[in-house]
């Protein structure tokens, strides 16, 4: 049972998927699993809803946050550049237990929240035991 739950979690970064461009920023994520739903949070500061692209391709979940590039204006000296003007990109492998059709994404203050429900058949079932 524990092993099965483990598979349901999007935990592995895929190296099979080609990133859209070289030199992306890998956003930090939190992943929680609660019963029949897996929730993923990703920090994507500066990415608006319109610039966010979440895709599921077979067993790969791709998160791509485009950022407005072009702060290299003339006459500007950069003292700190800890978040360079690059896109956010990260890919995860998700198990068969995740219901692809029911994945929802919300964006709030630069935090992406992905809700990944498990399919009906993989949900743990409660079996009532009758005492006779």
């Amino acid at each position: 049972m524990a092993e099965k739950n483990e598979q349901a979690v999007a935990r592995k970064e895929s190296d099979k998927i080609q990133a859209p461009a070289s030199g992306n920023i890998v956003p930090p994520v939190d992943i929680y699993e609660d019963g029949d739903v897996v929730t993923l949070f990703a920090d994507l500061p500066g990415v608006s809803k319109e610039n966010l692209d979440v895709q599921v391709d077979k067993d790969t979940l791709k998160v791509h946050g485009k950022r407005a590039v072009g702060n290299g204006a003339e006459g500007v000296t950069r003292w700190y550049d800890e978040i360079p003007a690059k896109d956010f990109y990260r890919a995860f492998t998700i198990g068969e237990e995740i219901d692809r059709e029911k994945i929802t994404a919300t964006m709030n203050n630069g935090v992406l929240k992905l809700t990944l429900p498990k399919t009906e058949k993989t949900k743990p079932k409660r079996i009532d035991i009758k005492i006779s």
Binding site: D34, L44, G46, D81, N109, V111
Partner: protein, 147 residues
């Protein structure tokens, strides 16, 4: 002891060590106006700072907080950004990479900035602050007359 022995005997290692020592010293002294690459991994919030003709622009990347909960102060040419971010959620934790808790970041800025001309805006998880230079610090165009 053995390391010391190598250090003294190997001329290449010796030179290289001396170089890194010098570099370390150069970049450590400058805190908080440190080198771009010298910020330790996991520093929260990460910031970008640019100097422009008439002021400086600071972007602090603080996703997932309420705008009103961020405390920004400017004193003695140091900009302080303070706040708290809670990331806890229900369920079993499988990955926890995002920063959680109290944070303070102090950014040293050069003299000549006007403390009365600070603007701060929070949008899409980015706190954007601009501080104008004092009038006398702004570059002036001097017209050249033909005599």
């Amino acid at each position: 002891m053995i390391a010391r022995w190598f250090y003294d005997l190997d001329p290449v290692y010796n030179d290289f060590s001396r170089l890194t020592d010098v570099l370390d010293r150069v970049f450590d002294v400058g805190l908080p106006l440190a080198n771009i690459r010298s910020v330790p991994r996991g520093t929260f919030p990460p910031v970008n700072v640019q100097e422009k003709k008439d002021g400086v622009a600071i972007q602090a990347y603080i996703p997932g907080v309420e705008a009103g909960s961020i405390e920004v102060t400017f004193h003695d040419n140091a900009l302080t950004i303070k706040g708290k971010r809670e990331t806890a959620f229900k369920g079993t934790i499988h990955r926890r990479e995002r920063f959680s808790g109290d944070f303070t970041r102090i950014i040293g800025l050069p003299e000549g900035l006007d403390p009365d001309k600070i603007k701060a805006q929070y949008r899409d998880g980015v706190l954007a602050i601009t501080i104008d230079k004092m009038e006398e610090q702004k570059p002036k165009q001097i017209p050249v007359k033909i005599t």
